[in-house]
């Protein structure tokens, strides 16, 4: 649709995973997982409706991993405080659009992330007119927090980020969702969290 596809393709090519842009329903038959990139959530929401992708994406998400960054996180949320955006409801969270302010407030921070019980790592976290996760429901694992709000949440095969790892060449979040050989792959983490 609209947004920063290209840097996500760069991440996947570093991980040796094939990726394609998804623009029509039949594209979904070709993939095993979906990234909803950053961009403008109003624009993306409109285009998803115009090209009748809403139901196909909701169905795809039932049994495939879906990751959302920034605008993508907004589209994954159950509740969005802006009626201009219709979201998919994959993640039981509430989000506020542009809650960190306009572009002039956009920034790069350092945030400590937890992947399972043993892995802690501090990573650059670039927030661009970012959404804020204001509430989380049951079964949501918070991987990292900034300024008192979660910026990375995992729930089953859904991963939502309010920031942009792809802008800082950070690959670990894509690995969590899409790289079964990775120690922090979500299915491996699930056992850790369950334990």
């Amino acid at each position: 649709m609209q947004g920063n596809f290209s840097l996500h393709h760069d991440v996947f090519s570093r991980l040796g995973i094939d990726s394609i842009p998804i623009k029509v329903q039949s594209d979904l038959d070709l993939i095993d997982g979906l990234v909803i990139p950053g961009g403008e959530s109003t624009t993306m929401s409109l285009l998803i409706n115009t090209f009748r992708l809403r139901e196909p994406i909701i169905n795809f998400g039932k049994d495939h991993p879906v990751m959302g960054t920034c605008a993508g996180l907004i589209l994954m949320a159950k509740e969005v405080q802006d009626k201009r955006v219709q979201s998919f409801g994959f993640l039981d969270i509430s989000v506020e659009r542009n809650a960190y302010g306009r572009q002039i407030k956009s920034s790069t921070e350092k945030v400590l992330y937890h992947f399972g019980l043993n892995k802690k790592v501090e990573l650059k976290t670039t927030l661009i007119r970012a959404p804020k996760i204001s509430n989380v429901g049951e079964g949501i694992h918070i991987l990292g927090e900034f300024d008192g709000s979660p910026v990375a949440v995992l729930s089953g095969h859904y991963l939502g980020l309010s920031f942009h790892p792809e802008l800082n060449n950070i690959d670990i979040f894509h690995q969590v969702l899409f790289d079964p050989n990775c120690e922090y792959y979500y299915k491996n983490l699930k056992q850790t969290y369950a334990a």
Binding site: Q2, F5, K23, G38, G39, L46, R102, K105, S107, R129
Partner: protein
């Protein structure tokens, strides 16, 4: 907290890829643009076609107009300042504008110098006609480049010329040896370090958008296929007979620019596009693209 860095500025430009940025002159037009799927709006007091028609000095928009548009829409709001007019840019930054366009569409304030854009926390976009001009603007701190085209003409020919020129010059640079890049930097009038960066990347180090004369869905598709990563539409929407439908059609054609059937569907049922001007009708001294260097 590390805000206003070049990385963060380019970050927003990245998010605007694959979209349409529309010129608007009031909050009602901004609403039409957002509802049609614009990924950002450009607030300006008169659209380029009217600036061309009315003449006179064209300046930064009034703050209350910008604030009205910011209150109306949730997408990023851009605004133009005059070339070299860093005080206008300071005012726009204070208004928390999301992107500043140092634009040849407004009357230049400085015929020798562009703004030193690294001094600002707000990101800038600037126009270019060729690679040298693009890299000079990036060296001054521009986080996004667009073709100049010929604003307000409704004529795509200049935007095509500028995009073709930039893409051809980028390809040329990628084939040159290190020693040749020094001579190339001299010929382009651009810093060697940026010429080397383009040679390595095979593209500009910041997003490269199209502007200046886009009036139809097919114009948008053409510019995307020539290598643009997004399009700006100025007069083309609100000078047409059906702005809301045309705005939506241009957004759809930009998304599916490689799918001619969808571009055809988007082009169907629209009323008249803006009338437009042949380049022979615009005397060289009145061409907006000649402003800046």
């Amino acid at each position: 907290m590390n805000n206003g860095t070049f990385e963060v500025k380019v970050g927003l430009a990245e998010m605007l890829k694959g979209g349409v940025i529309m010129d608007v002159t009031n909050a009602d037009q901004a609403k039409i643009a957002e509802d049609a799927g614009a990924c950002a709006v450009m607030a300006l007091e008169r659209i380029p076609a009217d600036i061309r028609r009315d003449g006179g000095i064209s300046r930064m928009s009034a703050p209350e107009m910008i604030l009205g548009i910011q209150a109306q829409v949730s997408i990023p709001v851009m605004a133009k300042c005059r070339i070299g007019h860093f005080a206008e840019a300071q005012v726009l930054e204070t208004l928390e504008i999301d992107f500043i366009d140092e634009s040849e569409v407004l009357t230049p304030a400085d015929e020798h110098n562009h703004i030193w854009k690294h001094n600002f926390k707000a990101p800038f976009v600037c126009g270019c006609r060729n690679l040298g001009e693009a890299l000079r603007r990036i060296s001054e701190g521009a986080a996004m480049i667009r073709t100049k085209g010929e604003a307000g003409s409704g004529n795509i020919v200049e935007a095509v010329r500028h995009m073709r020129t930039v893409m051809t010059e980028i390809k040329r640079v990628t084939c040159l040896e290190q020693d040749q890049l020094v001579a190339e930097a001299k010929n382009l009038g651009a810093p060697l370090s940026l010429v080397q960066q383009v040679a390595n990347l095979g593209k500009l180090p910041v997003p490269n958008f199209a502007a200046g004369g886009i009036a139809t869905p097919a114009d948008a598709s053409l510019m995307m296929q020539l290598g643009a990563e997004s399009v700006f539409v100025g007069s083309g929407i609100f000078k047409s007979d059906d702005p809301a439908a045309r705005a939506k059609a241009v957004v759809e054609a930009t998304t599916h620019y490689q799918d001619a059937k969808r571009v055809a569907a988007a082009s169907s049922g629209l009323k008249n596009a803006m009338k437009g001007l042949d380049m022979s009708e615009i005397p060289p001294e009145e061409r907006l693209q000649e402003r800046g260097w």
